[in-house]
């Protein structure tokens, strides 16, 4: 089988695989928000940027501080590529741990948290939130922007099952893609741009199709929450119970369910992590 190198490790792939998919199949998780194995590629969160060592560097030179010369000197910089979009080719050499990549991960993560509200204590996602996980893994610094964050609609009722919080949203568009690709119902879309970005309903519609809870399931952060489960339980406290008990139902091995001593609160399908 054809292989490529990821951080010094040989990874097999089939033709047409993207870097992130080939790595995911091997159980290696390249950080990402917008990519989902069951959906099309959006490449808009920029969290999965990797350095392809065999590719050419950026055309434009950059200035780098040289302490020995005590001056800025021209330097080249590798062009980082989104791992979710680049198809793998034989013998490709990829790094997810180089300084440039680390810096990019850190910057993207800091950017996503720029206007994020201080919601962890009341957020249903806290404990299984990618913003939290990646902060610890890739950023772990304090806030540098101390101005008022941008405010956007909170607690918007999307339909009978889903509530949307625009301030928590990282605009990965997974929910839009679920509606488009899985259901074929273009009920969600994005409006405005930049930090005014917001997911909105089609005029006169509600998010009321049969797979509406899938949008909550694929949401990597706490932007979409299930109305049934809102404010009922803290996920992270129940992690042991979740692992110990497995609930079998019509969905086949639905593994994650949030519970307190009184029983299950919600049942959800398998996550996107492999195995």
């Amino acid at each position: 089988m054809a292989t490529f190198t990821l951080d010094g490790k040989q990874i097999p792939f089939t033709k047409g695989d993207t870097i992130i998919r080939a790595a995911w199949r091997e159980g290696i998780d390249i950080p990402h928000y917008c990519w989902h194995p069951g959906l099309s590629v959006a490449a808009n969160c920029r969290m999965c940027l990797v350095e392809i060592k065999s590719a050419r560097p950026m055309m434009m030179p950059v200035l780098k501080w040289d302490a020995a010369k005590d001056a800025w000197v021209p330097d080249t910089k590798p062009k980082l590529q989104p791992a979710c979009q680049i198809e793998v080719s034989e013998g490709m050499e990829i790094s997810t741990e180089s300084e440039n990549v680390k810096q990019a991960h850190k910057a993207v993560q800091e950017f996503l948290l720029l206007n994020h509200p201080v919601d962890c204590p009341i957020c249903d996602q806290a404990g299984e939130c990618k913003l939290q996980d990646y902060w610890l893994e890739h950023q772990h610094t304090r806030k540098r922007k101390h101005t008022e964050p941008v405010h956007k609609p909170k607690g918007v009722r999307f339909g009978p099952t889903i509530v949307y919080d625009a301030e928590r949203c990282v605009m990965c568009t997974r929910c839009i893609r679920v509606c488009d690709e899985l259901v074929g119902d273009h009920v969600l879309d994005m409006r405005q741009r930049g930090n005014q970005n917001e997911i909105v309903l089609a005029p006169g519609r509600q998010l009321d199709h049969k797979y509406s809870l899938m949008t909550e399931h694929v949401c990597p952060v706490g932007a979409l929450t299930s109305r049934d489960f809102r404010f009922k339980a803290r996920v992270v406290l129940e992690i042991t119970a979740r692992r110990l008990r497995r609930l079998r139902d019509g969905l086949q091995h639905a593994r994650r369910f949030r519970t307190r001593a009184t029983g299950a609160f919600t049942v959800s399908g398998r996550g996107t992590t492999k195995a």
């Binding site: 948290l113 994020h116 509200p117 201080v118 919601d119 962890c120 204590p121 806290a126 404990g127 913003l131 939290q132 902060w135 610890l136 950023q139 772990h140 610094t141 304090r142 806030k143 101390h146 992270v236 406290l237």
Partner: protein
Amino acid sequence: MEPIEHEFDEDHALELPAEPMRLNMGPSHPAMHGTIRMVLDLEGETVENVDVQPGYLHRGFEKSCERGTWSQVFPYADRLNYVSPMLNNVGFALAVEKLCGITVPERAAYYRVILGEIARICDHFTCNGAGAMELGAFTPFLWFLKVREWCWDVLERETGARMTHSFGRIGGMAKPPTENFKRDVTELIPEVLKSVNEAETLLLRNRIFLDRMQGVGSLSQERALALGVTGPMLRSTGVDYDVRKAHPYSLYDRFDFEVPIGHDGDNYDRFLVRMEEMRQSCSIILQAIKQMPDDGPVNSPDLRYILPEKNEVYTTIEATIAHFKLVMEGIKPPKGQVYSFTEGGNGELGFFIVSDGSGTPYRVRVRPPCWFNLQACREMLIGDMISDIIPTFGSVNMIGGECDR
């Protein structure tokens, strides 16, 4: 009550061999700390053989560490050598910091040194004072404990607890020094030195004390090294091994101090080495007080290991996430293993820790100095009189909490 009348059958009297006599000492004997049992074979009053049996105190310290977070190990570490808990706190913190690759700010390092040395003084006070008391000299014991109480007052003002402070943190200390810290310590040290001198004048010209200590419980240098003995007990045999000098950790390379050594390795030498170490600790403390900066942080700025300030937690998302992660999942040192050792109250206190990258220690192995010192006990006791067991075992300063295996 009427006397019980025994009718002895002279012809069939059961003959028990009188010599050697097998005698159990402990674990309920006060000198055995309730945690050690000695099975003695006595020839008259001379100890022919002795089997030292620890294990009457078992809390499963190392196993307990494997189910909480890394930060939750501190209370367990406190209870290893509960006479100098601060040294254990710092020892464990240094081990995890070595694994994480972080260093604490200078102010915290000085703070640790000063509190640690006060703890060492308390440890030696307790050992030497109790040793004298066990020989009938109650006055020095009470004088020592009086000053130890003043030491604990300082520790209490700083940490909130006289013993078992749980004051260390990975990447710093729980709180910065109090406003009057330097004044309190500066006032304490002369009292310590005074008490050390007083006790020496009381004891070192006392015939009974000298007879019970000199030449009793001797340990040769070779055997001490072979058995892994460290601390004052090793130094009393003439080996100048002190982790603070041999492998300076924290700030110990900045202080000017001597490593006192003895030459006979008997009770008397152990007593004197501890006395002199208290003086050296005082000298270290005074130097540290002079060098310690008056302000500055006592915690590493790295949010992966140290909780952020509350006002930050309430206002910024980054600090909220840090708080959430640290509280719910605990700190996560990188995968790997590390051995880190410090000079505890009784010798080399080592922590071998293994991390699998999760919020819970994979393994915490302690090298408790008392465990190794206790090994030497058997050889030291054989050949001496039964009454010599008390001062000898006392000067080994076995702390049951550390011998919890």
